[in-house]
């Protein structure tokens, strides 16, 4: 139980940040991974598969 009077500015800023986090990270990392998956599928369908079957 932290004594409110002694919370530093830094701790207050951290608590504020933790209220919002990690929605920004979800947006950024989510977009990055989503784009990665898209790029993988584009290469899969438009470069790889058209080059023919091999076994």
């Amino acid at each position: 139980m932290v004594d409110r009077v002694h919370i530093s500015d830094e701790e207050r800023a951290l608590a504020e940040a933790l209220r919002e986090a990690p929605r920004g990270a979800l947006a950024l990392a989510g977009a990055a991974v989503g784009l990665l998956l898209l790029a993988w599928f584009l290469i899969f369908f438009f470069v790889f598969l058209p080059r023919g079957t091999v076994t």
């Binding site: 951290l14 504020e16 986090a21 990690p22 920004g24 979800l26 950024l28 990392a29 990055a32 470069v47």
Partner: protein, 540 residues
């Protein structure tokens, strides 16, 4: 940070000296491959250069940097002297002697077998002996790291090992497992061949043993960069690590999944069939998970820092970050390159899809971008972060550091993007000279020149990096630099589960996974001896 200070600096300087020379060789190689006439251009010089460049970048820069950084982490995170400093110096001198011996063999033209060896082509035995000395030295370092952590745990029972050290020791454990493959290949096959004790070699077995090392080694290289992501970047940004637990989990996942996947370097090989190729492909898919976890955890950590600095909304925290700090800038640039380099890796590992890229320039582009880009950029940032503590001087300005990091990133992107494209167009690897009179190959010319331009920028960046570090050695002492500090987690960690504070369980899992993934491929080769190939000596 005293007793290991000189030892760390010694290791770092061997790493960076090799790096500088290799960067010059790299540009010459790109020039030689281009439509423009390069001086001293013969196949003999080309493959000598490729061997020297590969050995320097893949074995010397990496191993010595990792040893140096390990000493810094051990002393700083554990707040106690590194154990066995005398052994550390023995390791350093042994490894350095190994580099010199191997280099002598390479530069005398007797070891043009590339850093991946390619038996039955055989170099002078001194090449292999030199590399064995480097590995043996690194094993001593591994033991030091293990002992340091064990001593700390005894002195701090029940306490969580600081994440930076936990990850460093995970890397040491990984390295010990990793080197088994190449050590076996060298000890039982290649060195007897190089000494003339045998005249034939089972090439399939040799490639399989080497593959054991070949993938895991890239995680050995990568983990220090990730240590910086988890323990240095959030601190530099003024924030907190989002989750210490996820950090530990990521590092142990790397430990168990980077080893049983080497066969994905042999997808196109005839000595293994679909079954084990697919199994190792599946395991490779699993090793992507710790990276996917890391990108989120580190983004969240940086988000905390950005929001603490007033950033708002979905993306405002990004702009609010202290980008003028080299470690913060490097993390952003590294993650940018990770998207491309990691994405390329996803394609390489996708089983049948490997046929689209195997042994084309795509592969060369991939590993230059992911290792040379994502990982080595963080090596620079780590060096910038620890150099003040190591030299007792502060940098006068961060501007030359930031510029060097930008040049490296731009140079790497400009060099590797056209290379990826040319790989898909069918440009193949390890070519000393392309016949540009062939119209099909002539189309590639302009792109090769673009890559060359990227390479030149990289060389300028490499030289700038070395000058930046030297500048601290040359400065007069002034105000003492602040001590090195690692990031704190967002929520204090007083206790972690034993499995995330030690490696017994993970060593057992490695053993089980390696038995499952490599047991048959290696065992089968030993039982059903394939007809051996005749030794081809490349030098005296």
């Amino acid at each position: 940070m005293n007793s290991a200070r000189r030892l760390a600096l010694a290791n770092f300087w061997v790493a960076f000296a090799a790096f500088g020379i290799a960067a010059v060789l790299g540009v010459w190689q790109m020039w030689a491959r281009s439509p423009w006439q390069a001086p001293l251009h013969t196949p003999s010089n080309y493959f000598l250069s490729v061997t020297a460049h590969g050995v320097s970048m893949a074995y010397v820069l990496s191993t010595f940097f990792i040893m140096g950084f390990g000493y810094v982490v051990a002393e700083t995170a554990l707040k106690r002297p590194v154990p066995g400093i005398r052994w550390g110096w023995i390791a350093f001198w042994m490894a350095t002697a190994g580099v010199l011996i191997a280099d002598l063999a390479i530069f005398s033209g007797n070891a043009s077998v590339l850093y991946t060896f390619y038996p039955p082509m055989t170099a002078s035995v001194w090449f292999y002996i030199g590399l064995v000395l480097v590995v043996a030295g690194s094993w001593i370092w591994c033991v030091q790291m293990l002992v340091a952590m064990a001593q700390w745990k005894r002195a701090n029972p029940g306490q969580p090992v600081p994440l930076a050290m936990f990850a460093t020791v995970a890397n040491a454990v990984l390295w010990l497992w990793t080197t088994v493959g190449v050590a076996a290949e060298l000890l039982f096959q290649i060195i007897p061949m190089a000494l003339g004790l045998v005249e034939t070699i089972d090439v399939g077995l040799s490639r399989t043993l080497f593959s054991w090392t070949l993938h895991a080694i890239v995680y050995f290289w990568l983990i220090p960069a990730y240590i910086a992501f988890y323990t240095m970047a959030p601190q530099a940004a003024g924030g907190r690590l989002f989750s210490d637990t996820m950090g530990r989990l990521s590092f142990v996942l790397f430990l168990i999944y980077s080893l049983p996947v080497g066969l994905h370097h042999l997808f196109m090989d005839p000595e293994h069939a679909a079954g084990f190729k697919f199994l190792q492909s599946f395991l490779t898919i699993l090793v992507t998970v710790p990276t996917l976890l890391t990108v989120f955890t580190i983004s969240a950590s940086m988000e905390i820092a950005g929001r603490m600095r007033g950033g708002k909304g979905w993306f405002g925290w990004i702009r609010a970050l202290p980008w003028e700090r080299p470690m913060v800038l490097a993390t952003g640039l590294s993650f940018f390159m990770l998207w491309f380099g990691g994405g390329g890796g996803l394609i390489n590992m996708s089983y049948g899809m490997n046929a689209m890229v195997h042994n084309t320039s795509w592969v060369t582009a991939h590993f230059h971008l992911i290792y040379g880009g994502t990982v080595v950029l963080m090596y620079f940032a780590i060096a910038y972060e620890v150099w003040p503590a190591l030299t007792g001087r502060r940098f006068a300005s961060n501007k030359p550091l930031r510029q060097q990091l930008w040049w490296w990133t731009i140079g790497m992107m400009v060099m590797t993007l056209p290379w990826h494209y040319l790989g898909l167009e069918g440009q193949w690897r390890r070519v000393a000279q392309f016949d540009y009179s062939d119209p099909h190959i002539a189309e590639w010319g302009p792109w090769v020149l673009v890559s060359l331009a990227g390479g030149v920028l990289l060389l300028l960046s490499a030289l700038r990096f070395i000058v930046n570090l030297l500048s601290l050695h040359w400065r007069a002492p002034g105000e003492a630099p602040p001590p090195l500090e690692f990031a704190r987690p967002a929520h204090e960690v007083t206790q972690v589960p034993a499995v995330l504070n030690g490696f017994s369980l993970w060593n057992l899992l490695v053993l089980i996974l390696m038995a499952a993934a490599y047991g048959f491929p290696i065992g089968h080769a030993l039982v059903e001896r394939a007809p051996a190939a005749i030794v081809h000596r490349m030098g005296g």
